[in-house]
């Protein structure tokens, strides 16, 4: 185990920004009042929430801060939005989503299917891009909800949200649109009005706020029933005493993320491309699983043919490098990632697929180091493979 950590797993979670932590501390210490209380002492925490709500409103470009609901995480945002809107439209029984959604959304639909909903799962092409034609054809009068992730957590592939919204509204004005935006917050600009989304969920810890806080945007035309019932907090849409320090934290994180969007699009992207090109150039059995698809700037999903992903991660970990894999072995499930399977990634590469995800904290030195050790690690694992002939053939073709 190396002492130094090179963290390239920012789609899993991120480091808390120092400024975010600083902004939270007073509310973990002396400003502990319940924001619902009547005395003056509560004014500061109550104001802090208002301020954070405005920051989040600006971050996603919502029309009104009343459209912002604070939750505990991305999964809660998804559950509240999806189940809440269906609770208001009980006559409609059809839902459309994608085959590559995050489990926190996908498993909600699996459950709703058991409750009698008809759910269509839209597929993707080999680059991970959504089949918009199939989506358009699936919409009918009974469609209560369409739910599409903004960008995929494993591949980083961005879905054309504005276009999808137009398709939905042209087919059925009453169909609601939920967007799981957890993987784009802090990576590309979010504009809920321009994109025409009804509901959108984000999670703080994916963009340098701590774990334990999320946001659900619900536009003023969309009404939901609450998932957590109790007090009047969040205008009755999410009961429970406000998690003041964390709400302040996600507010600051939104502000910080907005400042860094340009850096993400230029510098983070440059480092991601450098890593990617280095690996693809120096390792003959590596392939880019997403091809030319439009992606968030920080994510790269690379398949290493005839070698297995968990073993790559273990060797990377020995060098202090953190990444993740779509391999079956890492998840405890026995099947490789549902995303890579939906993309029909060849079976020679699917088990050896590694996701690298960078952040504003990733340095040039980090990337140079990964690029310097990666060929050796893959070579070591390749030498174990029973597929020496196939590997030799792959090498021969690559050098041609």
């Amino acid at each position: 185990m190396s002492d130094k950590i090179i963290y390239l797993d920012n789609n899993a979670t991120t480091r808390v920004d120092d400024k975010v932590l600083e902004s939270m501390l007073p509310y973990l210490k002396e400003e502990y009042a319940n924001p619902s209380s009547m005395y003056d002492f509560a004014k500061k925490s109550s104001d802090a929430i208002k301020e954070a709500r405005v920051k989040v409103r600006d971050f996603v470009n919502a029309e009104n801060e009343k459209e912002i609901i604070f939750t505990s995480c991305g999964s809660e945002s998804a559950n509240t939005g999806i189940r809440g809107v269906l609770g208001m439209h009980k006559d409609k029984r059809h839902i459309i989503t994608t085959k590559v959604e995050h489990p926190c959304v996908l498993n909600v639909y699996k459950m709703l299917e058991k409750q009698g909903y008809k759910v269509d799962y839209i597929g993707v092409n080999s680059a991970g891009e959504l089949d918009l034609e199939q989506l358009s054809e699936a919409i009918n009068d009974d469609t209560a909800l369409v739910s599409v992730m903004y960008a995929n957590n494993e591949t980083g592939v961005i879905n054309p949200i504005e276009k999808i919204s137009q398709i939905i509204k042209s087919k059925n004005q009453n169909t609601k649109f939920y967007v799981d935006a957890v993987q784009v917050a802090g990576k590309i600009p979010i504009d809920v009005q321009a994109c025409g989304v009804d509901m959108l969920g984000i999670s703080g810890h994916k963009f340098h706020a701590p774990k334990g806080v999320g946001v659900l945007y619900v536009n003023s035309k969309t009404i939901i029933t609450p998932l957590i019932i109790g007090g009047h907090q969040e205008r009755g849409k999410r009961a429970g005493t406000e998690n003041v320090p964390y709400i302040v934290g996600i507010g600051t994180a939104c502000e910080r993320a907005q400042e860094f969007l340009r850096y993400e699009a230029t510098e983070v992207k440059r480092l991601r491309d450098k890593l990617e090109n280095g690996i693809l150039k120096n390792i003959y059995n590596a392939r880019l699983n997403t091809g030319v698809a439009n992606r968030v700037p920080n994510t790269s999903n690379i398949g290493f043919e005839y070698v297995e992903g968990e073993l790559i991660l273990l060797h990377l970990s020995d060098k202090g490098i953190c990444a993740s894999s779509g391999s079956a072995c890492t998840s405890g499930s026995l099947e490789p990632s549902h995303v890579l399977r939906a993309m029909n990634v060849p079976f020679t590469a699917i088990h050896g697929s590694i996701r690298f995800s960078l952040s504003k904290y990733t340095t040039e030195k980090d990337i140079d180091y990964v690029n310097s050790v990666m060929p050796g690690i893959i070579e070591k694992i390749r030498n174990l493979s029973p597929y020496q002939d196939e590997l030799a053939e792959l090498k021969r073709r690559k050098t041609l």
């Binding site: 005839y306 297995e308 026995l334 174990l384 493979s385 029973p386």
Partner: protein, 285 residues
């Protein structure tokens, strides 16, 4: 993060006996690329003793460690001794494996079995011919996703005392993908532990008809009815004819779409478990 033992980590970091033996006396293969792990083992055998062993593995850390330690375990041993090695021995030698990773040790056992299946001593060449010419019996595949046979599942249950489908999945991968074979796996577990079950069943069906009626009535009153009442419903026993139990559902249950399901899944299984496995529940209006 998996909880790997020091020994597992040592073996995937520094795998022993990696490679291929060109003039191997026995070669075994288990798993496949599509399944996510595969092991090939090569043996050199002289005078009934394994003199050398090498492996090639496509797989995770524990798959490589299982393969590597297996080669160390068998070099210098007689073929007879090697035939006795089980997956449990491999896992034990590694200082244990996480439950979800036990299938890696089974893969080692499988590859070894495969290698020795085809191997015969020169002295036994005649018996070997007989063996080869014997009509081959098709092995029954239970899990089509991972190509797991009934025999392998049976061996895993036997060697490791597995009791649940989940355990069988951890050890053999069977049932770990589409899950369609889970009931077939349950059947194999049931068959394996059949004797125990049979004894119990005999004990239960030895009730006299009067005792049986009393028992059914008491279970409905004390066990089933309170459960249904929790959901705002209730059940009344109307008649019993042999193994057919006629019941009436009241309250919320009768209008509820799931009433048939409630009947079949809950009432029937409760009565089957407690009284007689041949009981059938019939709803009357």
């Amino acid at each position: 993060m998996w909880d790997y033992s020091e020994k597992v980590m040592d073996h995937y970091r520094n795998p022993r006996n990696v490679g291929k033996i060109d003039d191997a006396d026995a070669i075994g293969n288990a798993g496949s690329l599509t399944c996510g792990d595969q092991l090939k083992i090569y043996l050199k055998i002289k005078d009934g003793v394994v003199t050398d062993a090498k492996f090639q593995t496509f797989g995770c850390g524990s798959a490589v460690a299982s393969s590597s330690i297996l080669t160390e375990m068998i070099i210098g041993k007689t073929v007879e001794e090697v035939r006795k090695i089980t997956n449990k021995d491999i896992a034990d030698e590694l200082g244990g494996l996480p439950p979800e990773k036990m299938h890696c040790s089974v893969m080692g056992y499988e590859a070894l079995e495969d290698a020795l299946k085809g191997y015969v001593d020169k002295d036994e060449i005649d018996t070997a011919y007989d063996e080869i010419n014997k009509p081959k019996t098709e092995e029954k595949i239970i899990c089509t996703c991972f190509g797991v046979t009934e025999n392998l599942i049976w061996d895993a249950i036997k060697q490791n005392g597995l009791k649940t489908v989940e355990e069988v999945t951890n050890y053999t991968k069977a049932g770990g993908a589409c899950g369609k074979c889970k009931s077939a796996i349950q059947d194999i577990i049931d068959t394996y532990y059949h004797k125990e079950k049979k004894d119990k069943a005999e004990e239960k069906s030895s009730l006299s008809p009067a005792q049986k009626i009393l028992k059914i009535s008491s279970i409905i009153d004390n066990k089933i009815s309170p459960e249904l009442q929790k959901d705002g419903g209730d059940i009344t026993l109307v008649d019993i004819d042999g193994n057919s139990v006629f019941v009436k559902l009241r309250g919320r249950c009768s209008g509820c779409k799931n009433s048939t399901l409630t009947l079949k899944a809950f009432v029937e299984s409760t009565l089957k478990d407690a009284v007689d496995k041949n009981i059938e529940v019939v709803e009357v209006n």
